[in-house]
């Protein structure tokens, strides 16, 4: 979140992708950095022991949200 806040301040729409375990932490971080509407998108936990196919499926599950987070449509 630290990095995405930096990019926003410098005029680059940014989005973080994190595992669903991070929902609360991401909100706390965003608040602490003073940018509560910093965009974040979540994929299903677990990550570490997911297969490659499962990881690719997670990407498919969030790509639309990622694009939406970066644009105004």
């Amino acid at each position: 979140m630290h990095d995405t806040v930096y990019f926003e301040i410098h005029g680059r729409p940014a989005v973080s992708i994190a595992s669903s375990e991070f929902v609360d932490a991401a909100e706390t971080q965003a608040k602490a950095l003073g940018m509560t509407d910093a965009r974040r998108v979540f994929v299903a936990h677990p990550i570490q022991d997911a297969t490659d196919d499962e990881m690719r499926a997670k990407a498919e599950a969030v790509v639309d949200q990622v694009v939406a987070a970066l644009t105004s449509r």
Partner: protein
């Protein structure tokens, strides 16, 4: 500790950090920033493919942090701001 200050303006607009305005569509360069935790690269590889499909006019550039334990180093951040128009950072776990 948060610091509280009083608003020095006429208060017609909230004084908060807000995200930068978004354009209607993706264009130019999209940076995919890998925070370098294991497995994130697999997701980013697939994301790069999907974005290329959805927005073929867009250029995808890959970057990686040296470590996920700290924010990205200054020179990496600056480079990304210079070279890219959008940033996707993944994958925090």
């Amino acid at each position: 500790m948060t610091t509280t200050i009083l608003d020095p303006t006429d208060e017609r607009v909230p004084v908060t950090r807000s995200i930068t305005p978004r354009p209607q569509r993706l264009g130019g360069v999209v940076a995919l920033l890998d925070i370098s935790k294991p497995r994130g690269n697999v997701l980013l590889d697939r994301l790069a493919e999907l974005l290329a499909e959805r927005a073929p006019e867009v250029t995808i550039k890959r970057y990686a942090k040296p470590t996920f334990t700290k924010p990205a180093p200054d020179d990496l951040r600056r480079r990304i701001v210079e070279e890219a128009d959008f940033v996707v950072e993944a994958l925090a776990d």
